[in-house]
Point group: C2
Chain length 182, copies 2
Amino acid sequence: MNSQTPKKTIAIDMDGVIADVEPQLIKYYKQLYGITTTLSAIQGLTGAEAFPEDASTKNILRQPGFFRTLEVMPGAVAAVKKLMENYEVYIVSAATEFPLSLFEKIEWLQEHFPFISWRNIVMCGDKSIIHTDYLIDDHCKNLDFSRGKAIMFNAHHNLNQHQHLRVYNWDEILELFEKEGC
Amino acid sequence: MNSQTPKKTIAIDMDGVIADVEPQLIKYYKQLYGITTTLSAIQGLTGAEAFPEDASTKNILRQPGFFRTLEVMPGAVAAVKKLMENYEVYIVSAATEFPLSLFEKIEWLQEHFPFISWRNIVMCGDKSIIHTDYLIDDHCKNLDFSRGKAIMFNAHHNLNQHQHLRVYNWDEILELFEKEGC
């Protein structure tokens, strides 16, 4: 790449993309509501169908520690580092609905992705005013309005949505960007 | 306006635009360093020139309560409400450098601008991937890269920068948008 050419930009979502949120939801659902479910049981279900107790998902997401203790999605750290060699990478999380999550999310990034500058972190509500060349996200409510190329990270809640290019893991994302050729 | 036409978007900065940061900096500088300065004394000076103790500005911005107790810029509440009648307004604050500020900023917005949805709040680092039709900000580091029309809110540190349309208060902003005609 010509060093004079500005790098293309990638916006990467946190929950369900670099942070493995499904096992954590299942764990907290059991703790808070006493109900056991499994990864295979929730495939193809919406959030409300997967965790049907009234407002349970939002309640779970408001629990202190929920975001701070998420596991990293397998392969995400190495893949993001690799992408940063040729792209300007931004972490863009829809987080302002849960104000307590903001500090936890920053701390989580500092622990697991310390090579990402604060300059490249965005905590927002809707993502419609985010303009990057690529958006990697698991929610169609974000991908549908992407101004760049939309890449859908597989999740239980998006299995029945087919309007975007789907990837199942970070290896596939790296393969995809190798084909993009820059 | 035709109800079918999407509203144009405005990104509005917090510090120095809807939050009156200069008097607070002066107050904290006195408290922390014992040095008195005044609004008139800092006109035309950069942040480092206005508050020259080593790293004092960043130290001040890390003080708990600094952002939570800022005064609202005169006229900002009514003006933002007015703009929201015809525009989609986003509050876009470069805040991720100071992670403790994030929750304070959300709380401050909930107190003073409770009519702004969490969907329309963005806490970010650099603003180069924010794409709105207008950006109202006091820093050229943001305005210079604006993808929409840049409007510079007057501040002590930007008095000698002349590359953007300058406004001195919220009345002038409303006048400006009246002339924009939508």
